[in-house]
């Protein structure tokens, strides 16, 4: 089901994400999703995340759908030109996958195929526009579709703690102009920064899901601060994780930190998006601690 309808009904929409395998077996990811993510509204399936080659998002979405979950197809513009993207979108619609998250995608040089050709024929904005075109029965070449037209809940991402906030807000406006109906954010750790971003973003009137990555340990946080765009983890959080290595390792500290961030921000947002990065099993506990279950 389209999650845009849930937002319209005023629900606090909770999603999480899973990554396809680097291989042909998908039983593990489907089983884990069934076990830990069945209680939430929808599950994103990443698309060669961080430019690391994996199984495509679409088949994993189909398998999740068949297992009774509600998938969100992540679609980047790094690896396919407009024709391949349109073809995949029609294929998704054919299998009842009707949530799509449009992303520009990281550059190939950041991942495990640094010599691959960067495509970027479209970008997140023109991909949203492309979905609107398909919904109206036309492709980007201006040709008519035959039979039923697709209908998607069209989402995109925004980086609220980016040091280029103005450029991010400008891009957000262009995404909305292109048909974006909801936003998921990059991971938030600095709640003051996030809440001041929300003050500016609420004028657009589109639902925004708070992005959460459960912090695993101090080293991971320092790495993200240095290397990941739009992430600023306050020292207090890093100190908290460093204080008790065992508690950090078991996930106790990280989950407590994430739950605190959610509690501080949840009144300002319309939903929550958890990027568990292998810690899917901690999602139910996190929701409980955050008071969302």
């Amino acid at each position: 089901m389209r999650i845009s309808e849930l937002f319209e009904r005023g629900e606090f929409v909770i999603t999480a994400e899973v990554g396809p395998p680097k291989g042909t077996n998908i039983d593990k990811v489907i089983e884990e999703a069934k076990e830990y993510l069945s209680g939430i509204h929808a599950v994103n399936v990443t698309d060669n995340q961080s430019s690391v080659m994996r199984m495509s998002s679409l088949p994993v979405c189909i398998a999740l759908k068949q297992a009774g979950l509600n998938p969100i197809l992540q679609m980047t513009c790094r690896d396919r030109n407009r024709m391949a993207i349109e073809g995949d979108l029609l294929g998704a619609a054919c299998f009842g996958i009707d949530n799509v998250l449009a992303l520009t995608g990281d550059h190939p040089t950041l991942g495990d195929h640094p010599t691959a050709k960067p495509v970027f024929d479209l970008d997140s904005v023109s991909l949203l526009h492309c979905m609107c075109q398909l919904e109206s029965g036309k492709d980007l070449g201006g040709n008519d579709l035959v039979g039923d037209f697709p209908k998607f809940a069209k989402g995109a991402v925004v980086s609220p703690c980016s040091d280029s906030v103005d450029a991010q807000l400008a891009k957000m406006e262009r995404k909305i102009m292109a048909g974006c109906e909801f936003f998921q954010t990059q991971a938030v750790y600095d709640t003051d920064k996030f809440l001041s971003f929300m003050e500016k973003a609420k004028q657009f009137g589109k639902p925004i899901q708070l992005g959460i990555v459960i912090p695993k340990n101090a080293g991971m946080c320092r790495y993200m601060n240095k290397n990941v765009a739009g992430i600023s983890i306050p020292d207090s959080i890093i100190d908290e994780l460093a204080a008790d290595k065992e508690k950090a390792k078991s996930g106790e500290t990280g989950v407590a930190i994430a739950a605190r961030i959610i509690r501080e921000c949840k009144d300002a947002v319309q939903g929550l998006h958890i990027m568990a990065m292998g810690w899917e099993s901690k999602v139910p506990g996190l929701l409980e601690q955050a008071g969302l279950k």
Binding site: H107, D121, S124, S126, D166, A167, K171, M177, A178, G230
Partner: protein
């Protein structure tokens, strides 16, 4: 070789806010430029009182050379609200950097043709994309200044203002955002329709 093709008349007219100062560049022999069409259009604009002056020169892509030429027209440039440049993308970028507080617009689209590309200093780059975006981006080329050649705004990868691909390079869209704010044209990004690139070449487009 390259072709600098005049943009549609309506587009050029819509670029002129108030009065315009025109700069024509007839530098490189390798560039095909519709001098006749440009002259006719400029004559009409002049007669309609829309221009403060016309400068026809060469090698405006060379910043030193360009400054010397423009200095003599300081008054006409001062009087103009828009500076309309008839040149390849490199020329327009050089002028917009020099007149950073002015509304500098490209009147031509630059297409590539096979063969020698002419002599330009390497300070600014034009990929001869065939549908010049400089009027949407404050005179900074999104095709060459952004590692993904994005035409609808910044990706999520910039960190500390640097590009995700090359940390020694400033993010092109960060520069564009700053320039548009400087010339008071941030609304361009809000108003202009979704851009979808046209990868057809000059030959493809003109084969009908």
């Amino acid at each position: 070789m390259l072709i600098t093709q005049l943009k549609d008349r309506e587009i050029i007219e819509s670029l002129i806010c108030g009065k315009a100062f025109v700069i024509n560049c007839h530098g490189c022999k390798e560039v095909f430029f519709d001098e006749k069409g440009a002259n006719e259009l400029q004559k009409e604009l002049m007669e309609a009182g829309k221009l403060t002056g016309i400068l026809t020169t060469d090698y405006i892509c060379n910043p030193e050379n360009m400054k010397l030429r423009l200095e003599r027209y300081a008054k006409q440039i001062e009087e103009a609200d828009t500076v309309l440049v008839f040149s390849c993308g490199v020329g327009v970028q050089t002028v917009s950097e020099y007149l950073a507080d002015k509304r500098v617009c490209a009147a031509c689209d630059t297409f590539a043709l096979p063969g020698y590309q002419g002599v330009t200093p390497l300070e600014y780059d034009c990929d001869q994309c065939g549908e010049c975006y400089l009027n949407l981006t404050g005179g900074i080329c999104p095709i060459t200044a952004c590692s993904k050649s994005l035409v609808n705004g910044q990706c999520g990868g910039a960190k500390d203002g640097k590009c995700e691909v090359n940390h020694d390079m400033e993010c092109g869209w960060e520069r564009i955002q700053r320039r548009l704010a400087q010339v008071g044209r941030l609304d361009v990004l809000k108003k202009c329709p979704v851009q979808v690139r046209n990868y057809a070449t000059y030959k493809d487009i003109n084969k009908e």
